[in-house]
Symmetry: C2
C-alpha cells in the first residue's frame, strides 16, 4: 500500500469559499438544443433569473429562494429564448434566464446584487453557487454575440455551453479568466494593500490576472514585484474560488517574502504595508477602523487561514 | 517568529514543466503603442518569429536559437505591423511576429513544430517559454480581430496585451483557458486512459476544461466522474503549466480514488484502466509498448512524481 496520499490531510479548502458549493451535475459536452427545449418543458425544472445583472429572489417560509418554477418564469416574462441549461440537481434541470430591465417585478419578487445575496446568508449555499454559475455564463453570452474571428453573429449551441459561428465555422466556449490572489507572509506579518476605490479602511491581498506564458507561481511573483517591489521565494497554493464578476476564477496562494522593503505601484495602490498578525484579529471581525474584505472573498479566507494557523 | 511557512518545503514544481522558464519581465499594464514602436527600433531587441503556426529557428555555434535580430526580422519580411511586445530580458525588448506562409525561408532558417522544439532539447529553456508565450498571444490576436460584443473590427493596444473596440468601447484581454489535469491514485496504482487519436500504446492522465461556477477541485471530481465513473475524495494541487496550443493553462493535480469500478465514457476514451506502480517505470522511459506522454507534458510529470514518491 502506497503512502503517497497518506500522512497529510488534504481538506478541500476551496469548499470554504462563497460560490463553491455547486451541486449541479453537468453533462455539458453532451447537451443539445433538444435537451434545452425539453428542460423548459420539464415540470420539475427550476430557473435562476436575473434582472439588470442582479439575481431575482423571493422570500418564502424559512428563508429566501432564487429557484423559480417554470410557471413563475412565464409570469415574470423571462427571456427563455436566450436561456441556458446549467445542469441537474436531484434529477431536476436547473436553467437560467434574464428578465428585461423594463419588466416591473410584482411582489414578492425582488432583485438583490450578487454580493449582498451572499452576505445576507439567507440563500442556500448551493443556490448561491448556481447563481454565480448562471451569471458567469449569461454574461458571457450577452457579451459574445459575435464571432471574434470573423465578426458574424454567433448562435447558442450545446444548450448554452457553446456558441457557434455558422459563417466561419468557429466554435466558442465560455471564457474564464484565471486570477492569482496572494497573501505574502514574512514571519509573523503579512502584506496587504488598498486600492483607491476600496471601502474606507479596507486592506486586502494583492491580485492580478495570470497572463499567457506564465505559471501560477510566476504570476504570483510578478504581481508582487510589480505592485509592491517585494521578492518572493516559495509559493503555496491554497484554494480556488469561482468569482462571477463576471467570469473570473481566483487562485488563492500564500507567498513567502524574500525581501521586505516595499516599493508601491502608485498607479494601482494608494497604500501597501506589512500587518502584524495581532492586528488581523480585529480586522477580520470588520468592526475595526481597519478591516479585511468580507468572508465571501477568498482574500478574507487567506488572511483568516494565516491568522488561525500561524503564531 | 511564525511557523506558518516552516516545517514543509514548497519547491516550485511548476518549474519542472516545459514552457515554465519564462525570464521576460513584463510591464504589460503600462505598455503603449509608443513603447512597441520604440522596441522595434531598439538595436538590442530580439524577436521570436513564427510561420504557419510553427516557431522559426536557426542553428548557431553550440545550439539552436529562436531569437532574431531586427535586421534578420527585416530580411525575413516578418509582419511587424501586427507584431507584439512580450517583455524585456536583461533590458533587451523581446518581440514576436508572424512571417507569411508564402515567404520562402532562406538558409539557415527553418521552422519546427512547437512540440519538436521542446523535445529536441536544443533550444534554451527561457526561449522555449518565450516561444510559447508569444504564440499564445499571436494566436489570440489572429483569432480575435473582431469584437465579440458588437462585431466591429478591433485594434491592437497596450503593445499587444489588449485589443480595443472603437465602435462599442469594449477592451479585450488575451484569453487563457484553465484546464484541470489529474492523476487519480488508489494506493499503489493510478488511473490512466487513452483517446483514439493518441500515439499507439500511449496512456495519459484524464483532463478537461474547468467550467464556469466550479472550483479546480470540483472540476477534477466532475471530469473523473464523467470520463471514468470514479469518485474522488482528496484533491491535491501539484503544478501549473502554460500550454501554448494555443492558450491553455494546465492545473495538474493528484486525486485520491474513493471508488474503483471504472465506467468509461466511450465517446471520449477508447480505454481506461488502473496501472500498477511497477508498470510505470518502463512506460516513463517510453521504450515500452505502453508508454506515458513525453516529459514536456505535465501528465508525464504527474505520473513521474507518483512513481518517484510513492511505494
Amino acid at each position: 500500500m502506497s503512502n503517497f496520499f497518506n500522512g497529510t490531510a488534504f481538506p478541500d479548502v476551496s469548499a470554504w469559499n462563497a460560490f463553491s458549493a455547486n451541486e449541479l451535475e453537468r453533462n455539458s459536452e453532451h447537451l443539445s438544443a433538444e435537451d434545452l427545449a425539453a428542460a423548459w418543458q420539464n415540470p420539475s425544472a427550476n430557473a435562476y433569473l436575473y434582472q439588470n445583472g442582479d439575481p431575482v429572489l423571493k422570500t418564502v417560509d424559512g428563508g429566501t429562494t432564487a429557484e423559480f418554477s417554470l410557471d413563475e418564469v412565464a409570469n415574470l416574462r423571462a427571456d427563455t429564448e436566450n436561456g441556458i441549461y446549467l445542469g441537474d440537481r436531484n434529477g431536476a434541470p436547473a436553467l437560467a434566464a434574464i428578465i428585461s430591465g423594463e419588466t416591473e417585478l410584482p411582489e414578492p419578487y425582488i432583485t438583490l446584487d450578487m454580493r449582498s445575496v451572499v452576505t445576507s446568508g439567507s440563500v442556500a449555499a448551493h443556490q448561491v453557487a448556481a447563481l454565480g454559475h448562471g451569471w458567469s455564463m449569461l454574461a458571457w453570452h450577452k457579451n459574445h454575440r459575435f464571432c471574434a474571428n470573423c465578426g458574424s453573429k454567433t448562435e447558442k449551441a450545446q444548450a448554452g455551453y457553446r456558441r457557434n459561428c455558422s459563417s466561419c465555422g468557429r466554435v466558442h466556449f465560455p471564457r474564464l479568466d484565471p486570477v492569482s490572489i496572494m497573501l505574502v507572509v514574512d514571519g509573523d506579518r503579512c502584506l496587504m494593500g488598498r486600492q483607491p476605490h476600496f471601502a474606507e479602511g479596507m486592506y486586502s491581498c494583492l491580485a492580478g490576472f495570470i497572463e499567457p506564458g506564465e505559471t501560477m507561481e510566476n504570476a504570483v511573483r510578478r504581481e508582487i514585484k510589480e505592485e509592491a517591489g517585494i521578492d518572493v521565494s516559495a509559493v503555496r497554493y491554497h484554494a480556488t474560488q469561482p468569482w462571477p464578476f463576471p467570469h473570473t476564477l481566483m487562485f488563492g496562494c500564500f507567498a513567502k517574502a524574500a525581501s521586505t522593503n516595499i516599493t508601491m505601484d502608485e498607479t494601482e495602490l494608494e497604500d501597501c504595508r506589512w500587518f502584524d498578525r495581532n492586528e488581523l484579529g480585529d480586522m477580520l471581525t470588520r468592526e475595526n477602523t481597519l478591516k479585511t474584505p468580507p468572508p465571501m472573498a477568498i482574500a478574507h479566507q487567506l488572511i483568516k487561514t494565516f491568522y488561525d494557523f500561524s503564531g
